[in-house]
Amino acid sequence: MSDLLSRRSAAVALAVLAAVTIAAGLVFPDSWVGTVLSVLASPGTHTAMLRLAVPIALAAIGGIFAEKSGVINIGLEGLLIVSAFSAILVTFRLGAGESTALLSNHWWGFAVGVIVSTLFALLFAAVCIEFEADQIIAGLAVWLIALGLAPFASRIVFDSPNTGNVGTFDAVTVPVLSEVPVLGYLLFDTGPDVYVMLIAAVAGWYLLARTRFGRWVEASGENPKALDTAGVDVRKVRYAAVLLSGIFAGLGGAGFALGQLGTFAGGGETDIGGRGFIAIATYLFANYHPIGALAGSFLFAGLDAVQIRLQTYGYAVPTELIRTIPYVTVIAVLVLFGKTRLPEAAGEPYDPDED
């Protein structure tokens, strides 16, 4: 209850801050506040925000399924890395801009990216469910393996930790609807990766909130014993949920790679740059609600989009510092809303023989 209150007061504080910023920006259009406002209001920022939200929103929705079922998947970052990299690699190998079996090679790359991520999730599921590994450590291992594997494979194929460029998906323009003000350019004249995100968010919500499987996932994380007693195999539910987290993260990673990046830099933190961890903060923020996670991802992606565009204005504020804004915001959000209640049995392997 107190949590709800603080969420509400934070929303009010944000609204007041936004109002003050807009007023100041309109009164002094040449000040830096005016610049920030014009960046915030520009359609380019909004389009960029949607595209940057793809990996965060989809990984977050995947993470919701895994964690709701009782398996904390902290390896989402690793799943984003492998899916983004393999999507680019396959598209490049098949030939960017060409088609195989009547389907654009970008879509083949996209499909393989999702499959690779799902296979990694399967491995993670087996390690956690079959061999009762510590979920946090196993998740870190998935991340670290992906962090090494992507540049390893990239060096073999491209002779560099960075891949070649394959370009991005063409925007899909829906006739007539794209002429609608605001919603038109946002929702009906954008990349297929954004459509995938929006559809997947609704599908994820429906699956979790409206189907029997969703109730099983919930029970598997809250009270696995009861689910077992009801005749449902807890392990199978958890396997399915973790595999779903792999599919969603794969859609996010491959969609981000082919919709936004067009190439993949595997050095250092890679092009994913912590978006998998931001996704975890996002679903905690959204209290495990898929649509809420989609909205939360707009916050972080929006900050990212704004900082990218602010850099082009050449203010004295150094770019490195602006770049940290999304990360600092994640910390602030966790402190303000981090006390989300985890599912009762999250983090523990389920042992049916236990009393």
Partner: protein, 407 residues
Amino acid sequence: MRDRIEGLIGRLVRASIVERVAIAAAALVAAVVVGGVLVFVSGGFASCASGLDLAGWTFCYNPMQVYYELFLGALGHPLEGGWHVHNFSLATTLRETTLLAFAGLSVAVAFRAGLFNIGTQGQLVVGGLLTAVTVLFAARFVPGGAVGTLVLVPLGVLAGAVGGGFYGAIPGALKAYGGANEVITTIMLNFVAVGVTSTLLSWRFQDPESANPQTRAVPEYAEIPTIPVIGYSPRLDFSLLALGFAVALMVGLAWMLARTSFGYELRVSGVQPEAARYGGVAEKRMTVASMTLSGALGGIAGAFWVLMQHGRWLENVPSLGFDGIAVSILAGNNPLGVGAAAFLFGVLSSGGRSINTATDVPPELVGVVSGLIILFVAMPEFFRMIGRQFLDVDEEPGRGTGGGADE
């Protein structure tokens, strides 16, 4: 109360120490095997002049050669002629061992308190910059030569510990007083550390005579001194004194954990938080204190990276902090085990370089193998299953189907 918990922990440790070592060894072997398969298979996708031809495919990489370079190359090829203990590769291995020992201790201390400090990397970055800046500033007021060394080196290490400790205290306080999960906050703070330090660098501390993003070099007498005659040449960027300091820290931390009341409270907070609370441990202060200590150790790793390896702070910091996670997990978070694990990862790190020079296999293989080691260490049940399958041993008393210690 205290005696009972002490006895319980003691029994757990003694019962599991042999098994821990066995699992670490098994994890290492398993990771090497899987890594070897990966090398062989990926060789099928590489292009090369000559390789192993199998059914029309050419496999370019020989895993045996890769591991030969990895493990023996790191020691300077002791089986080949002309080997000398003061060789470049061994110096590199021992330098990495030293730095990884500090980073591993940083992760281990937090782990023992029940906290996942993924932020050692950021603490190392911040501590290292503070070391370089402090030493550069203080060098103006300190005479050169031996006096300079005696003042500046301890001062620099202290500055690193303070910087890292402060940066570690932040996620500790956020966890204790804000309830923010330390795994996420420390990862985010790693990114923030990179942004803030490179901003500070370009704002004030950039070496004006260099195009690389780095600070000016500290005076030579402010670097970690080497021991004459038996020590390594200063050109090899490794000092036995630093290794000695790392060993002393390991022993000191092991003693602290085992014998002091602070160490006792730290361990109980990690093993049984409820019992700690019942026993009167100030839980929140303990969280901040152990994260500060952990951060300080990460900062010391940064200080030695600056004062031993480069003599300056560079924006491009290697991933010592992340490797420290692997070191600590392999060591079972035991300070003395960290020494052995740090040496293993020192070999991997240095061997990665000799792979790069002697073979066509990408050196990133080392990152994959480290990740695999962590993965296998995390699943002891896997090895217990294999053990039960092939050895047909009787179930140990107290270990049922699920591993008694975990329940």
